[in-house]
Amino acid sequence: MLAALAAWALTWWVLRGTVWFTAGAAAAAGSLAADGAASRLRQRVAVGAAFAALLAAPLVRAVVAFFVAVVMGATAALWLSELVFVGLAAFAVAAGLRTLALHHPAWRGVEVAAMGAAIASPVLSHRDGAWARPLALSDAAIQAGLDPLHVLVGLGVLAGFGAVVLLAAERTERPERAAALVLVPAAVLALLLMIVGGSVAALVEQVRSPDASTETDEPGASGDEGGQDPSKADGKARPAQGEGDGVADAPDGPGNGGASPDRPDGAPPMPAGAGKPPGDRPEGEERGERPDGGAADGADERPAGGGGDPPPAGGERPGEEPAGDKAAGDKPPGGDGDGDKSLGEKPEGDQPAGDRPHGDKPAGEEPPAVDPPADKPDGGQPAGDKPAGDKPPPRDPPADKGDPPPSPDDAQPPPDAQGDPPPNADTDAQGSAGGDPLEQLFENGKSSGDPSPVAVVILDDDYLPPGETWYLRQDALSELVGYRLMPSGVDLDVPRGPMVGEEVASSPEPDGERTSLTGRVAALVEQTAWFGPEAAVSYGAVNNPDRSRFVAAWTFSSLVPVGDASTLFGRTSTAAILPGYLQYPADPRYAAKVAELLAPMPADLRADPMAVALSITHGIGVDMVYDKGVVFQPDTDQAASFLFGGMRGYCVHAAHAAVYLMRAAGVPARIGTGYAVPGTSLRGSTLLVRGLEAHAWPEVWIDGVGWTIVDVHPEKSVTPPPPPVDEALVRQLGEAAREATGEQPPPPPATPWRPRMPRVPWAAIGRALSTLAFWLVVAAVGGHYAAKAVRRVRPRVSSPDALPRDALIAALDALAEVGLSREVGETREAHARRVAAHAPAFAALCAHATRAALGPGDAPPDRLLLLGLLDGVRAELRASVPWWRRLLGALDLTSVWRVR
C-alpha cells in the first residue's frame, strides 16, 4: 500500500484533474483498506465486496448524477458523479488486487503490474495536457495495422491467461515464481516495446510527414477499408474502455475526448514532447480538462451557460483547409480525399483532430497519387504532436478547394455499421472523428482551436446580426453520404473556387428580410475558401495588407438578415431545390423524434418551416449537454447516437441531428460551417475571428429569404467558456487589415516553406521494433506450444540411447503441467516419491532414466517398457488429477520451463 501511495505521488504531476486525483487517492485507500481488512474478512468476502463495488460504481454514478442534478445543476452533477464513479472503481480495483495478493503470492505480480500500468498509462497518454486511455498503445496498434480493439482484447486475454497460469501454478504445490518471473517481465517488456516503438514511429512520422508515402502499406492501404476499419476499431475499442461501462477507464472516457481536442493545433509538427505545452493547459477538473481540450478544438466551446454565444465552429476551417485541399486537390475524386482523412483520423481515435491536420498537409505537398496512403499514415500517427497550433499551418497552399468531394464512396461508412450506433452512442461518439469534412474542420480548427485569431473582419457598415452572433459561412454540407453530410456541388452559394479573382455566389435573390453588408477579411491562417458574414453573395481577392501577418485578404458582399427568426414565420419552404436537401438516414427514430418535438405545437404551426426548425433546435438545445470531449465519428450514425443516446456532443453532433430532424419533418435543411463569432467580439468595425469559434450549424431554406441559420443553443455544457478577446490584439490586427488596398492579389503563394528534417528512418525503426516485438511474442507463444508438442511425441521416435531421457522429459512435462515439477535441489528419487501419490509409475520410469544417465553403460532399458511406463504415468495423472487442472496444464505455456 505504500507502493500505491508512492505510485500516486509519482503520477500526480500529470494528474491535474480532480478526477485523477480522486482516482489515485481512492486506489491508495483501497490498498490500505484491503490490508486492514485482510485479518478480519475472508478472502472471498473481500474480493466479492470489491467486485460488487466495481459493478455498483456505474449505478452509483447514475444515482449521484440524478440527485445532484436536481440540486446543483447538470454540470456539477456530471462532475461529481464522475468523481464518485472513478473513486469507487479505483478503490474497488485496488482493494481487490491487494486482497488477492495477500492470499495468493502469485497475484503480487499482477498487483505490481497493475500498479506499473497505472503509473505508466498517465505518462504514456499524457499528451498535450490531456490524456486518457493508453493512446500510445492504440496509436501503435493502428500503426501496425492492427485493430486496436483486437490489441486490447488480446492484452486482456493475455492478462487473464497469465492470471490463470499463476493461479494454476500455485494451486498444486507451491507458487511457481520462476514462471511469473519470466513471463510477466517478458509481457511487460514486449508491451513497452510496442508502445515505445509505436510512439516513436508516430512521432517521427509526423515530423516528416512527407515521407509518409513510403509507408503506404500500413494502415489501410486501401483507402476505404483502411478508413473504415480503424474507425470502427476505435468505435469498438472505445466501448471497451469506455467510460460508460468502464471501470477504471471510464474516467478517461470523457477525458479522452478532451484529449483529442487538444491536439488540434495542426500546425507545425512538433514532437509530442513539444506538444505538451498546449497540453498543459489546464486540464482542470477532468471535465474541465476537456474543456481546454475542448476549447481548443472546439473553438466553440459554448460558454457553458450561454447558449447565446454561438459556437463558432466552422472557424477552424482555416486549419482544415489543408485537409480540404489535399482532399480536394489531390484527389479530385473527392471521395478519396475524405476517405483518407477519415483514415487518418480514425487511427488516433481519441485525438482525432490534431493529427489530421498533419496528415493533410503532407498530403498536400505530395504528389496526389500518393496521398491516400500518405495521409493515413500521417494521420495515423497522430500521436501526437500536435503542437500548439497557433502557428498557421504553413503548408499547403490552398489548393483548389474546388472539388468538393462529391461522393466519397470510400469514405462512406459501411452500411453494416449502422446497427450499433444507438447503444454505443456515447462511447462511440468519443471515437475519433471520421473523415467528415466537418470533423476536419474541427480538427484543423483544433489546430487552431486555441484562442489565437484566424482572421479579422472589417465591416464597412454598422450592423449587428439579430441573434447577436456573427455567422461567417465558409461551406455548406448538404449531401447525405453514409451517416453524415458532405459538401455538395449543389450548394452554389458557398465559395468553392481558388481564392483568386472574384467569385459570385449564385443564390436566388432574397425578396426581403435581408440587407446588404460589405467588408473585408484578412486571414491570419491559411483558408480553404473565402468566408464572410452569412449569405455572402460575392467575394473578391485583394492585396495582402501585411504579408508578415496575413496570408490572404478578400472583400465580401453579403446580404445579411435583418430580423430575428420570428419575422420569418409564415413563409414556405417549397423551394427544396433538390431532393438531396430532404435526405436523412433511414432510421425511423428520426420521424418519431420529430413527431415528439412537434407534438406540443399548435397544428397550424406544424407546417411552418421556421417554426418547425426552431422547435427542433430548441428541443435539442434543451436536452443537449455540450461536450467537446465527445468525438464525432463518421462511420456510425453519430447523429442518432447523439440524439437517441446521451445527448452529449458538440456542434457537429447537434447540427447533424437537427438537420436530419428538419429533413425528417420535410423542411429542406443543410449544415453550414464556418465561424460563429459572438457579437461581443466586435470592436468598432473590427471583428476578430478566433480558431475556437469554428462552428457548424443547421440551416433551413426559407422561400424568399434563402438559407437561414437556425442554430442549436445547448443549455448545458461541460466545456468552459473561451477566454475573452484580447482588445489590443483586435485593434492592432484591425489596423493592419485596414491598410489593405484594393489591388489585385498576388498570384497564389507557392508551396509554403517547411523545414526539412534529416531523414533518419526513425519511423521505420520504431515500427520495425514494434513489429518485431509483436512477432517475438507470437513466436514465443508458438514456440512454447510447439516445444510441448514435440516433447510429447518425441519418445515414440527416439533412438534407443535417447529414449530414456526423452521419456523422462515427456513424463516430467506431463507432471509439470499439473504442477508436479521437481523443486530445485530436490533429487530425482525424492521427486518421484513425492509424486507417487499421483503417478506411481513415474518412480520406475525415473529410475530407468537415471540409470541410463548414471549407471553402467550396459543395455539400455527396453523400449516398450519405457513407453509403457510413460503411458502409465499419463494414465495415472488422468485418473488422479481433475480435468480442469489438466486442461489448464495443457494451455500452460510455462510448463516446459518447470521441467527440471
Partner: protein, 329 residues
C-alpha cells in the same frame, strides 16, 4: 548385472534383520551403521546415555561370526574411555613370561572385529590418537612392532554431546577419521512403547532363526561393492564440485578434506546397493553428504547449522546432477 552384488545385498539384509530385532526404533541409525561397516568406515554416535548405543554395538558384534579360526580375535569388544586410560590399555602390551623367559604380546581390546569406544571424548588425547591411528591404518604399533588388526576392524565410538566437563573434545582432524557422525534422536513414541512390550525378547537378543553374517561375507561384500557399483563420472564431478563449494563458501571456515571424498565414494556405492541399485545417483549424494561432511567442516562465525550450510552448498551441485539425466549441462 546384479549377480555379483547379490551376496552384498544378502549381507545387508541379514544384518538389518538381526540388528532391527535387537534394537527397536533405530532403523535409520542401523542402516547408517551397516553402511559404514560395508563402506569400511567408522561411526561416531553422539547421543545421551541410555539411548541404545551399546545395545546397538553389541548386537552388531553378535551378528558377526568370526570364521577366521586361526586368529584369536573376538567379534566385539568395548572400551569405556576414562581420563586415566593409557594407550597400552587399548592396544595391548608386551609382558614378560617368566616361565618361557621371553616377552609376549598381550592383545588389547583393539583386536576385535567390532569395537565399541564408549565416551571417546573422556580420555586423554594420546589415547584418542592411538585409537585413531588404529582406525585409519588398521594397525597398532607396540614396542616398535607393528601389528595388523583385522581387515574388518570397525569402530563405533560414542560421545555425550552435553556432559562436557573434563572432556577432551576431538579435534576436527581426528573427527575426519570417522566416516559418519550420527546424531541419534529420541526414538519415536510407538517404537519406545513397543520396546517396553518386547523387553523380554530384546534381553534375549536376536532369535537364532536370523542367520548371522560371517567376517568373510562382509569382507567379500565390501570388495564387490567397490568393484561393481558404478560411480558415474558425473557423480565424481559433483563430489569435486561440492568439495570446492564448501571450500569457497563464505560460511565455511574450512571445507571438506580430500580424504572425506575418498571415504564417501564407497559409502555412496554402499548406499546405492542398499537402495537396490547398481549405480550411484544424486539421491545417494544428497542423503550422505550431510552425514559425511557435517562434522568435517568448520563453520565461519555466524553461519547457520552445518546441515543447512551443506544443503546450500549442495543444492546447485545436486540440481546440476539431476539435470544431467535430462541430457543438459
Amino acid at each position: 548385472m546384479m549377480n555379483d552384488l547379490t551376496l552384498a545385498q544378502d549381507v545387508v539384509r541379514r544384518l538389518r534383520a538381526r540388528l532391527n530385532a535387537a534394537v527397536i526404533g533405530r532403523e535409520a541409525v542401523i542402516d547408517a551403521v551397516i553402511l559404514a561397516l560395508l563402506a569400511d568406515g567408522h561411526v561416531l554416535l553422539e547421543d545421551y546415555p541410555g539411548s541404545g548405543k551399546t545395545t546397538l554395538a553389541k548386537a552388531l558384534g553378535d551378528a558377526l561370526i568370526d570364521d577366521e579360526t586361526t586368529d584369536t580375535l573376538v567379534a566385539m569388544r568395548r572400551i569405556q574411555f576414562t581420563p586415566d586410560l593409557l594407550p597400552s590399555d587399548i592396544t595391548g602390551t608386551t609382558i614378560f613370561e617368566p616361565e618361557h623367559q621371553r616377552f609376549t604380546f598381550r592383545q588389547g581390546p583393539l583386536f576385535a572385529l567390532v569395537l565399541l569406544a564408549d565416551e571417546i571424548n573422556r580420555t586423554s588425547p594420546k589415547v584418542q590418537s592411538a585409537l585413531l591411528e588404529a582406525m585409519a591404518e588398521k594397525q597398532v604399533t607396540v614396542d616398535n612392532e607393528t601389528r595388523r588388526l583385522d581387515e574388518l576392524f570397525f569402530v563405533i565410538a560414542t560421545q555425550n554431546p552435553l556432559d562436557l566437563a573434563g572432556t577432551f573434545p576431538l579435534p576436527v582432524a581426528q573427527l575426519d577419521r570417522f566416516l559418519f557422525k550420527i546424531r541419534m534422536v529420541p526414538i519415536a513414541r510407538e517404537a519406545e512403547r513397543r520396546l517396553l512390550d518386547a523387553l523380554d525378547e530384546v534381553k534375549r537378543g536376536a532369535p537364532e532363526s536370523l542367520s548371522r553374517v560371517s567376517r568373510t561375507d562382509v569382507v567379500t561384500a565390501r570388495r564387490s561393492i567397490v568393484e561393481r557399483v558404478v560411480v558415474a563420472p558425473a557423480i565424481k564431478d559433483a563430489l569435486v564440485d561440492l568439495a570446492q563449494a564448501t571450500r569457497s563458501s563464505p560460511l565455511i571456515h574450512q571445507g571438506v578434506s580430500t580424504r572425506s571424498l575418498v571415504q564417501i565414494v564407497p559409502a555412496l556405492q554402499t548406499r546405492a546397493l542398499m537402495e537396490g541399485r547398481d549405480h550411484v545417483t544424486d539421491e545417494d549424494l544428497a542423503a550422505l553428504s550431510p552425514l559425511v561432511f557435517a562434522h568435517r567442516i568448520q563453520l565461519a562465525p555466524g553461519a547457520p547449522s552445518a546441515d543447512e550450510v551443506l544443503r546450500r552448498c549442495a543444492q546447485p551441485v545436486l540440481d546440476k546432477l539431476a539435470r544431467q539425466a535430462l541430457g543438459r549441462r
